[in-house]
C-alpha cells in the first residue's frame, strides 16, 4: 500500500498546544511553529491533502538557508488556510493570517522588522521549486494596507528571488511608512529629506533580487496634503498635492515623472511643477516646468542685503533643466543646465541701500540661461528680456527731485557670468521706450521713443535713437500744470546718440566721472533760455564729443534773426572741467545773418568768476547797470564769414575775419566789413576786468568812404574832426582808440587815448558860413574854386583833448596849413597858416557857436619846406610820422 492510495479523513480538533518543526534538507528549509493549537479538517488521498486548517501559535519561524538566508518569523500567529497541499510540496489555497512582531530578513537586512502583519491571500506555492503565486493578496503592515498580486520564485540554484508582483497601497501616511522602508533599498538618500502627508502607490515589482541585482519597482504615486523640505533647498513646501510616476531601478537609474505637483511655500506662495527627475538616487537630472505665484516680501533672503525694502507679487513660470547631487553643494552656475524663466511682477517695489527706490506696476522678465546666441561677444551667460509699462527709479533721500521714469520699456539684455566674482561684470542691452523722463535737481528731461543699445563690452556704451527730446533746466518739476523749465527749455525732434561711458569713481565732475565718448546727431532742436529774448533753434547738429575734444561736424544755430553754421573743434575740456585750464575752440562760423546784439546777450557773463558775478549783482542792484561780461574760462578762436550782421542799429555786410574770446577778453581781429558807406576793417578788443572798469579798444580802418556817410555812421568823427563836415567826397579813415568805461558804458575820459588819420582826395569844400568867414579873412578871391586835391591829417585824442596835427590844404591858388586843438567841451583853438600866395595866419578860437577869427602869425609857415623847417616843426612831423606808422602797423 502506497500513500497515494490512502484516503484519510482528517477531523482533528483542539490538538493540545504542540510544537511543529519541519525540516527539508533538500531544499534547506526549516519551519517551526511553537505552541500551536491546530485544527485541521480535510481529506488526504493519494498525496493530496485538502482541507482547512486553523492555526493559533505562539510563534512561527521559517528559514531558508542558501547563498542567502531568508528569515521569516512572527508571534501570536493566527492563520487559517483553506486549500490543498499536494505531495507535501504544492500549496494551493486561501491563507488568512495575522501575526505580530513580524520579521522578514534577508541575511542581515530587515524588510519587515517587528510589525503587525495581516495577510489575506489566494496563493499557490511550489515548495520544491520555491515558486509563489499570489492573488488577491492583501497585506496590512501596521495599519498600512498593501495589495500584492503576482509571483516570486526563489532560484533553487543560487537563491535569487525572481519577482513579478503588482502592488497597490492604501492611503499611507508617509511619516509612518518611511521608517518601514528597508534602508537597503534607499540607503541614506532620504536622510536630508523631510517629507510627509498622505501617499498612495500602485505599481509593479519586477526582476531578480540577488546579491547583485534588485528588482525594478514602478509606482504611480498620489501625494496629497504633504510637506516637503530638503537640505540645501531654501524653501519648504506645504499643502502639497502631486501625482508621480516612479521607476525605481537600483541597479541602473531611478526616475520620477512629476505629472502634477502643487504646493505652497512660506505659507501663501503657490507653486506648481511638472516634469521629470532622472537618476533619483544619484546625481539627479531634473527637467521641470514650474510656476509660482509669489509675494516678494516672503523672499527677502533671496535678495541682496542692500535691498532694505521690497514689495510686490510675482507670477513666475520656469522651465528648468538642472542637476542635483545631494553629496555636493548646489550651485546655480554648475547645476542649472538650462533655465527659461518668465516672471511677471506686479506692484514691484524695491528700495536699494535705503536710497534708491525702484517701482513698477507691471514688470515682465524673461530670463534665459545659459544663452546660445552671443551677439556682443562678452561671454554671454544670461539673457533677460524685460518689458514694463512703467518703471520708476527715485532717490528717496535727496531733498530735490532725482528720479528716472520710463514708460513702455523693452530691454533685451545680456550679461556675462554674474556669479563669477573673479571677472568684471559685462552687460549689453537693447532698449526701446515710449518715453523716458529724468529729473535731477533743477534739470528735467523727456525723451520720446528712445531706442538703442547700452553696453559695457569695453566701456559703458550707449547707442540712442529717439524721436523727441525735451530738457528743462529750472524748477519745472515743482509745477503741477506747466512743463516749462524756468531756466532752460530744450526740445528736439530726432536724436541719434552713440556714447561710451567709462565710470571713474574718483572724479568729482559728473562729466569726468562718466567720461563719455559721444557721437550725437539731432534735428530740429530748440532751447529756450531764461533771460534770452529768443529761443535757440538747432535744425541740424552733428558732433563727436569726449572729454578731450568736441568736434562740431555741423551745427546750424538759429536764435532770433541770427542764422549761423558752426564747425570746428573744441579742446581742453578736461582741464576746463578741472578748473585748471581754458576751454579752447577753433571754429568756423558761417552766417547768413547775425544779430550781434542777440549774440552778446546770449554769451553775456558765461563762466564769469564769482567775484565778478557778485560785483555785477551789486552794481545792478545799486545802479541798474548791466554791462556785457565777456565769457570767462574759454579760449575760442573763430573764423567768421557773415553775409549780414546787425550791431546796435547798423547793418554790416560781407564780414570776414577772426573773433576770439580768451578768458574775459573779446577780440575781433581784422574783421572785414562792408556797408553802404565804405569797406571797413575792424580790430576790436573788449574785456571786463571789473564791473566799473571795462576796457574797449578798437582799430577801425575805413577805405573809400563818403565823408557824409562816415559822419552819419560814426557821429563821433564830427567830434574828432569838426571841420571834416565842411568837405564832401571820399576819404580813407583810420581810427584807433581805447578807453575804460564805467559800468554804464560812460567813458572814463582820463583813460581815453586815440589816434586817427584821414586821407582825402578830390574833395569839395562846402560853401558854408564858416568857410565864408575863413575865405574872407584870408582874402580868398571870390572866383576861388573850392576843390581840394588832397587832404592828409593825423589826429590824437588824449583824455578830452583832440589835437589835429598840421596838415596842408590846397584850394585853387591858396595853400594853408591847418592845426590846432579842440576839446570835448567844444572849445576850439585852431590856427590856419596861409603859406601861399602870402604867409598869414588866422587863429580860430572860442566855443563852437561863438568862434572868434583873428588874423595873426602863420604858425607853421615852413613846415612843408624842408630846407627852411624849424626844429619844432621837425618834431611835429616826426610825431605825425609816428602816429601814422603805428596806425599802419595795425593794417595787414
Amino acid at each position: 500500500m502506497t500513500p497515494q492510495r490512502l484516503i484519510i479523513l482528517l477531523i482533528c480538533k483542539k490538538l493540545k498546544p504542540i510544537d511543529f518543526r519541519y525540516l527539508n534538507l533538500q531544499s534547506r528549509q526549516t519551519a517551526e511553529v511553537k505552541e500551536a493549537d491546530l485544527t485541521v479538517k480535510g481529506t488526504y488521498e493519494n498525496g493530496l491533502l485538502n482541507g482547512k486548517a486553523d492555526l493559533d501559535a505562539k510563534s512561527l519561524v521559517f528559514v531558508m538557508v542558501d547563498s542567502t538566508v531568508l528569515h521569516f518569523s512572527g508571534d501570536n500567529v493566527q492563520a487559517t488556510y483553506d486549500g490543498s497541499f499536494t505531495d507535501f510540496n504544492l500549496i494551493d489555497g486561501n491563507l488568512e493570517a495575522d501575526m505580530q512582531n513580524t520579521v522578514l530578513r534577508l541575511d542581515t537586512t530587515h524588510y519587515l522588522n517587528g510589525m503587525d502583519l495581516s495577510v489575506s491571500s489566494d496563493l499557490q506555492v511550489d515548495l520544491a521549486a520555491r515558486d509563489f503565486q499570489l492573488e488577491k493578496t492583501q497585506l496590512i503592515l501596521d495599519k498600512q494596507e498593501l495589495e500584492v498580486n503576482g509571483s516570486f520564485q526563489v532560484d533553487t540554484t543560487n537563491s535569487d528571488i525572481h519577482t513579478d508582483l503588482h502592488y497597490k497601497t492604501g492611503d499611507w501616511i508617509i511619516e509612518e511608512v518611511l521608517p518601514m522602508i528597508p534602508r537597503a533599498l534607499i540607503g541614506n538618500k532620504l536622510d536630508d529629506i523631510q517629507i510627509d502627508g498622505h501617499i498612495a502607490l500602485e505599481g509593479d515589482v519586477k526582476g531578480t533580487f540577488s546579491e547583485t541585482q534588485t528588482p525594478k519597482v514602478t509606482s504611480d504615486i498620489a501625494w496629497h496634503n504633504g510637506r516637503f523640505a530638503m537640505k540645501d533647498l531654501p524653501l519648504d513646501f506645504e499643502k502639497a498635492d502631486g501625482l508621480f510616476d516612479l521607476n525605481l531601478d537600483l541597479d541602473n537609474q531611478s526616475n520620477v515623472t512629476i505629472r502634477s505637483l502643487s504646493a505652497t511655500t512660506r505659507k501663501r506662495n503657490l507653486v506648481t511643477a511638472t516634469g521629470t527627475v532622472k537618476n533619483l538616487l544619484g546625481n539627479m537630472l531634473l527637467d521641470i516646468f514650474a510656476t509660482g505665484k509669489l509675494y516678494i516680501t516672503d523672499f527677502a533672503d533671496f535678495l541682496p542685503e542692500d535691498f532694505t525694502q521690497y514689495d510686490g507679487k510675482a507670477n513666475i513660470q520656469a522651465k528648468t533643466q538642472l542637476s542635483y547631487d545631494p553629496e555636493t553643494t548646489f550651485s546655480i552656475d554648475k547645476n542649472i543646465i538650462k533655465a527659461i524663466i518668465d516672471g511677471q511682477f506686479t506692484d514691484l517695489e524695491l528700495l536699494y541701500d535705503d536710497t534708491m527706490l525702484v517701482y513698477s506696476p507691471d514688470l515682465h522678465v524673461d530670463l534665459t540661461f545659459p544663452v546660445t546666441e552671443k551677439p556682443y561677444k562678452i561671454n554671454e551667460w544670461l539673457n533677460a528680456k524685460v518689458k514694463t509699462s512703467d518703471l520708476l527709479i527715485r532717490n528717496t533721500r535727496s531733498h530735490t527731485r532725482k528720479e528716472i521714469r520710463g514708460s513702455t520699456i523693452q530691454l533685451d539684455a545680456y550679461t556675462n557670468n554674474l556669479l563669477d566674482s573673479t571677472i568684471e561684470l559685462k552687460f549689453a542691452t537693447t532698449y526701446q521706450l515710449n518715453q523716458l523722463n529724468i529729473w535731477a535737481d533743477t534739470i528735467s528731461a523727456q525723451f520720446f521713443q528712445p531706442q538703442g543699445v547700452l553696453n559695457n563690452t569695453n566701456q559703458m556704451r550707449l547707442d540712442y535713437n529717439g524721436n523727441d527730446v525735451r530738457v528743462y533746466v529750472g524748477n519745472s518739476w515743482q509745477s503741477t500744470c506747466s512743463s516749462m523749465g524756468d531756466l532752460i527749455d530744450f526740445t528736439t525732434d530726432k536724436i541719434s546718440l552713440n556714447a561710451e561711458i567709462d565710470y571713474k569713481d574718483n572724479e568729482e565732475h559728473p562729466l569726468l566721472q562718466w567720461s563719455p565718448v559721444v557721437k550725437l546727431q539731432a534735428t530740429n532742436a530748440k532751447a529756450e533760455i531764461r533771460d534770452l529774448e529768443h529761443a535757440v533753434e538747432v535744425p541740424t547738429l552733428n558732433l563727436d564729443f569726449n572729454t578731450q575734444k568736441c568736434v562740431l561736424k555741423k551745427a546750424n544755430l538759429k536764435f532770433g534773426q541770427s542764422d549761423v553754421n558752426l564747425t570746428g573743434t573744441i579742446t581742453g575740456i578736461e582741464p576746463y572741467l578741472r578748473s585748471n585750464g581754458l576751454l579752447k575752440g577753433n571754429l568756423e562760423l558761417v552766417a547768413n545773418y547775425l544779430n550781434l546784439n542777440e549774440l552778446i546777450a546770449f554769451v553775456n557773463g558765461f563762466g564769469a568768476p564769482d567775484s565778478l558775478v557778485e560785483q555785477a549783482e551789486q552794481i545792478a542792484a545799486e545802479t541798474g547797470d548791466s554791462p556785457f561780461l565777456v565769457p570767462f574760462g574759454i579760449d575760442v578762436n573763430m573764423n567768421t564769414t557773415i553775409k549780414k550782421a546787425l550791431y546796435e542799429e547798423t547793418e554790416f555786410r560781407n564780414i570776414d575775419g577772426r573773433v576770439y574770446v580768451k578768458d574775459g577778453v573779446l577780440v575781433l581781429e581784422e574783421m572785414g566789413l562792408t556797408n553802404d558807406a565804405a569797406r571797413m576793417q575792424l580790430t576790436a578788443m573788449y574785456r571786463t576786468p571789473r564791473m566799473n572798469h571795462l576796457f574797449l579798444g578798437f582799430d577801425f580802418h575805413l577805405l573809400d568812404i563818403k565823408i557824409d556817410k562816415l559822419i552819419a555812421m560814426i557821429p563821433e568823427v564830427d567830434t574828432l574832426l569838426p571841420m571834416l563836415k565842411a568837405f564832401s567826397g571820399n576819404a580813407e579813415f583810420h581810427f584807433a582808440a581805447e578807453t575804460y568805461l564805467k559800468s554804464n558804458y560812460d567813458i572814463k575820459y582820463s583813460t581815453l587815448r586815440g589816434a586817427a588819420a584821414i586821407n582825402g582826395h578830390d574833395l569839395v569844400v562846402l560853401d558854408n558860413d564858416t568857410y565864408k568867414k575863413i575865405a574872407k579873412k584870408l582874402m580868398f578871391s571870390k572866383k576861388t574854386e573850392n576843390k581840394i586835391d588832397s587832404l592828409s591829417t593825423e589826429i590824437t585824442i588824449y583824455k578830452n583833448e583832440i589835437d589835429v596835427y598840421p596838415f596842408l590844404l590846397s584850394i585853387d591858388k591858396y595853400s594853408a596849413i591847418i592845426s590846432g586843438r579842440h576839446n570835448l567841451d567844444l572849445t576850439y583853438d585852431y590856427n590856419i597858416s596861409l603859406v601861399k600866395p602870402i604867409r598869414i595866419g588866422l587863429d580860430i578860437i572860442g566855443l563852437e557857436d561863438r568862434l572868434k577869427f583873428k588874423v595873426g602869425k602863420a604858425k607853421y609857415a615852413t613846415l612843408f619846406v624842408p630846407e627852411k623847417r624849424k626844429v619844432v616843426e621837425s618834431n611835429v612831423l616826426e610825431l605825425k610820422t609816428l602816429i601814422n606808422k603805428t596806425l599802419q602797423e595795425n593794417v595787414r
Binding site: 572798469h693 578798437f698 581805447e738 582820463s750 590824437t796 588824449y798 603805428t886 596806425l887
Partner: protein
C-alpha cells in the same frame, strides 16, 4: 599932377608896407632873441607825481604810467607811456594796447625834487608835487 600924386601915394604905401613888414620881421626875430631854452635835470623826474586825483609815475628808464583816481582807476590799472625830456621839452608817448601811439609834448617850466610844472602849446598848465 594927378598921375604923380598917384605915384607918390603908391610909393608912400609901399614904404609904409615895407616899414610895417620890417617891423614885423624885427618883432618876430626879437621873439627868438628872447627865447630862453632852459635845460632841466631829467633824473629829477623819476618817481610819483600827483596833481589832485591825477597821478603820474616816471621811471628812470624812460617809461611811466598815469592814472586818475577820480575815474575809479587804481595804480594797478594805470596806462603806460614812454617819455623823453630834452632841455625843457617833455614828450610823453602814450601807448595804446590796440597799437598806435599818442604823443603829447609839454614845456617844462619847473622841475625840482618836490615840484613839476609843465604846460602845452594850448595854454594848459599842470602843477604836480612829488608823492613820496
Amino acid at each position: 599932377m594927378r598921375k604923380n600924386h598917384h605915384i607918390i601915394q603908391s610909393i608912400r604905401k609901399n614904404c609904409i608896407f615895407g616899414l610895417f613888414f620890417c617891423l614885423i620881421v624885427l618883432l618876430m626875430a626879437s621873439c627868438d632873441l628872447f627865447n630862453r631854452d632852459e635845460k632841466f635835470d631829467k633824473t629829477l623826474l623819476s618817481g610819483y607825481w600827483v596833481k589832485g586825483t591825477l597821478h603820474e609815475f616816471y621811471n628812470a628808464n624812460g617809461t611811466g604810467y598815469t592814472w586818475d583816481t577820480a575815474d575809479d582807476v587804481t595804480e594797478e590799472e594805470a596806462q603806460p607811456f614812454t617819455w623823453t625830456l630834452e632841455k625843457a621839452t617833455l614828450t610823453q608817448i602814450h601807448q595804446m594796447e590796440m597799437g598806435g601811439n599818442v604823443p603829447k609834448t609839454y614845456t617844462v617850466t619847473k622841475l625840482n625834487t618836490t615840484s613839476l610844472e609843465y604846460h602845452d602849446d594850448y595854454g594848459k598848465y599842470y602843477s604836480f608835487v612829488k608823492d613820496k
